[in-house]
Symmetry: D3
Subunit: 209 residues, 6 copies
Amino acid sequence: MGLHQYIKGLSDLETLRRAPGAFKYQEHSVAAHSFKVASIAQMLGDIEEQSGNPVNWQRLYEKSLNHDYTERFIGDIKTPVKYATPTLRQMLARVEDSMTENFITGEIPERFQDIYRRRLGEGKDDTLEGRILSVSDKVDLLYEGYGEIEKGNPEHVFMEMYQESLRTIATFRDMPSVQYFISDVLPDMLDSDFVERDQLVAMTREILK
Amino acid sequence: MGLHQYIKGLSDLETLRRAPGAFKYQEHSVAAHSFKVASIAQMLGDIEEQSGNPVNWQRLYEKSLNHDYTERFIGDIKTPVKYATPTLRQMLARVEDSMTENFITGEIPERFQDIYRRRLGEGKDDTLEGRILSVSDKVDLLYEGYGEIEKGNPEHVFMEMYQESLRTIATFRDMPSVQYFISDVLPDMLDSDFVERDQLVAMTREILK
Amino acid sequence: MGLHQYIKGLSDLETLRRAPGAFKYQEHSVAAHSFKVASIAQMLGDIEEQSGNPVNWQRLYEKSLNHDYTERFIGDIKTPVKYATPTLRQMLARVEDSMTENFITGEIPERFQDIYRRRLGEGKDDTLEGRILSVSDKVDLLYEGYGEIEKGNPEHVFMEMYQESLRTIATFRDMPSVQYFISDVLPDMLDSDFVERDQLVAMTREILK
Amino acid sequence: MGLHQYIKGLSDLETLRRAPGAFKYQEHSVAAHSFKVASIAQMLGDIEEQSGNPVNWQRLYEKSLNHDYTERFIGDIKTPVKYATPTLRQMLARVEDSMTENFITGEIPERFQDIYRRRLGEGKDDTLEGRILSVSDKVDLLYEGYGEIEKGNPEHVFMEMYQESLRTIATFRDMPSVQYFISDVLPDMLDSDFVERDQLVAMTREILK
Amino acid sequence: MGLHQYIKGLSDLETLRRAPGAFKYQEHSVAAHSFKVASIAQMLGDIEEQSGNPVNWQRLYEKSLNHDYTERFIGDIKTPVKYATPTLRQMLARVEDSMTENFITGEIPERFQDIYRRRLGEGKDDTLEGRILSVSDKVDLLYEGYGEIEKGNPEHVFMEMYQESLRTIATFRDMPSVQYFISDVLPDMLDSDFVERDQLVAMTREILK
Amino acid sequence: MGLHQYIKGLSDLETLRRAPGAFKYQEHSVAAHSFKVASIAQMLGDIEEQSGNPVNWQRLYEKSLNHDYTERFIGDIKTPVKYATPTLRQMLARVEDSMTENFITGEIPERFQDIYRRRLGEGKDDTLEGRILSVSDKVDLLYEGYGEIEKGNPEHVFMEMYQESLRTIATFRDMPSVQYFISDVLPDMLDSDFVERDQLVAMTREILK
């Protein structure tokens, strides 16, 4: 028994689609989301470090890259279900833990088991790296929601996705990286201009003049 | 408040894909699955009736057509999670019930609420119609699993899907419709022939002779 | 010979796409359409019954669930072709009937043949259930057309689809269920709000305040 | 009124999928089919010319490029329907002609109307170019059928597609280009080798040795 | 060795997508693009001929149909790369030529090699047919860009695509076919109307009145 | 100017498909590939460390996560083109560098420019981390090739992809992580069993006994 099953699992994450059950112009896989979250975490980590908060980079990359690997085991449980009652949330977390543990003892060679226990455990703790992960996860969700809204998606769920992620990001406002995101990234995102027909006609005339 | 939200929900079921998280040659939506289950239930109902078991057709159609509508609210929770412990299963069922109730009181006009309470409740009871639904649901799953296997899908999960559904169907063996399915439908399904290259070459020669 | 070919046919309806030949944001299969029409018919049936018109539920479900099964045999013939001349329409109907009959005698065991003759025949007759089917079929088409228009589809064909289905629905205006649809469902459908950029910016400011 | 509607029609052919209603690993649009048929016709034309049969190239390209443009108007009518009775076939052809004529008089400027009448008319006549078109159309169909069979598609319809097209090609056997296709192209197509697991393992060992 | 590899290559062009790396509502394959360019070239050729400029039709069809076949060999190199420096452009062209030559000598029977050398060579020369090809290629690109813009695509790249192709078309303004395109086709394209919600509501009222 | 353009670029990598121009059962985006390569690098890093070779984890994650970001700028240039001549390869690398530099100076705020210069530069150097990246990139390619072969893809290109990546991996055989991959992972990958019809029938009988 080697690590073949672990690698195969990476590919399962390519087929897991995020936010199923609503019409979307553009689908996102859990694999692509993980890539984007790790890249955003890397970006926010730079800002923290430049603001004088030393980042444990190994921990930051590890947390962000692996934070959704266990979605393979539990599937996509809708947020309102997950948070219905504290007891249910706890029980679901326990089931997830035990399925993860089964995977580790059943598929991961013993010499690597402790490493994967750390990697596949909950990453969103109170360390600086855990908080950057929480923010990065929501930044990507914000972009996913915004991407549908700017393409004209009339489904309400994307507006809620946008609002909910922005609200969560705002709760981390004491962090320099979040302040930077709000002041320097968000305005650019909202500014990207929609093309109107009038512009198109004017521009056509200009070119043909 | 009319029934617009109910109709819109039907369309959400078109975007919900079954068995996410594994490579598939052919995707199936919850809407298409519901159609197939209702059609299979209709077919099994005929056999029961011809065997002397009177079918309450309104109940059978209603149960089978609506049996997965509530997947809109809870999402796709993987089977091992759902069945992890009896308590968890019970709690998840309770959450599903309360989300369904919220939908009914929030979106369905009062005069129709009792009807939808019945329709969106658990259909797989011990009545003849509930049992036909249980079988039909698994027959469609069996065909979905078989469809991937015969197309050459190397993922193990489809073999397990095939086995698990066949096993469940076999537990309903006292029903004439299940006996018929095993003796008259299953063999045809397994018999459908794969094309081999040798045949292809032989046939080509035959035509060109 | 059992009913395997009938079940396999259900799956073919999953691959048949409606309204081919125009760009669409969201595809709909004949299988998913059949599910939605049966669910809408069920909804309209409730209203008729509450208005004092008894519904033969078995007949209503049977008609709506099976009304497009024969599309497997004939393919998608565009409406203007189908209705070009009364003679052509009649001849096409006759061909469809004979292909359906071939399927029934060739693939359906004798003991079920009469049942399938009824199910796969024309459902849109003058009975209350036939009329509900006619309306339900158009309600789903209306939603399909509207769905493309609200997503921003510039193809004219969806406007025509919307108009044509609304016009047909209006001809059934003597039915209480159609009156309800026009007064209580349609306004909600047209009301669902589009998100504008200004709102988005305002809401973002509100959250970050 | 210029030729904008004609150009837009080309794009509709990109969304029209061939052979709807059966599971396929690879979809083909009418636009892509038209490109392939014109390219195959060009290839067969070379052989005819080298065999001493002068080709009217303008006519050959024109026929093959435009031969399916009118599918926009009539949709995909399944072959068994089209050929059900000679009268029906004739009537359908007449409807297609009249819809094509409507398009020409309604959307094509007068100065080009005769040209499009020629282009959108039936191309498969008894001229050398008409016969090359008939063969090319079937060669592409043969490749589409073979493509599914070699990928492991268990649907019978692709075997029938393969057989039917090969049989039609064989009826044109007096043509040098068809003789060449049978003797020099077909064997290469059937020869392309499938990879077997044993080979894979052997090759892996070889590389790692 | 026959021409099987050439035919297989046509199918590869069905899987090559144009303009990768940006979100698109509608994908276009190189095969479909080739079909559309040949059809547009045919249309522009008519206008030239009616304006007194005799067209060599065999050459025009041949050039336009085959102009992107060699994309199979080199892949999609982004325009800014291709044009970065004159030397690089020249070197890339030389590599493309040598890969094309390899294909011709390796896969095309000798008796056809000269024909394919001509067909797979650069088509955009200074002949009337070469110039029509240059324009047709950009007309299709213009429609691809416009198609995304009118569907609401917020990506800037489609605006650039639209502008760049219109600018190139304008440089061929001395050609009667380009004058016609600007005066008679472009206005119709820009005029196709977007559906606004107000219209929809008004129309709905009108129908239901 | 903030980092919005950098985040948007991550999303472009979701739409860039790997290995375009050949039929594939399963598509892979550059974003998903980057995620898998970083995860595989992390796995190989563990082995190196357990074998006594200390890993600079920040460097390893950074290299692997960002190694294909610049594909946004240059597109997919086929390998035979890239390697045609040493001069061409050098020139292409220079163009890529200058486009990357343009992006950095044009879109990245000054305080982060040096960081992105490092991240978007060539990662496959002679350090341990650079070598792990080289291997990880090929391990993912090997899995992509194998995934198509085991699903039955008859295209030769996947066999070549499998061979080429295995050969490259073998050249790094002095590394403990590569030895582990060859001895403990590869055999499991090749062993995953294909389902044969006979097994299916036997298993069905077993269940129904």
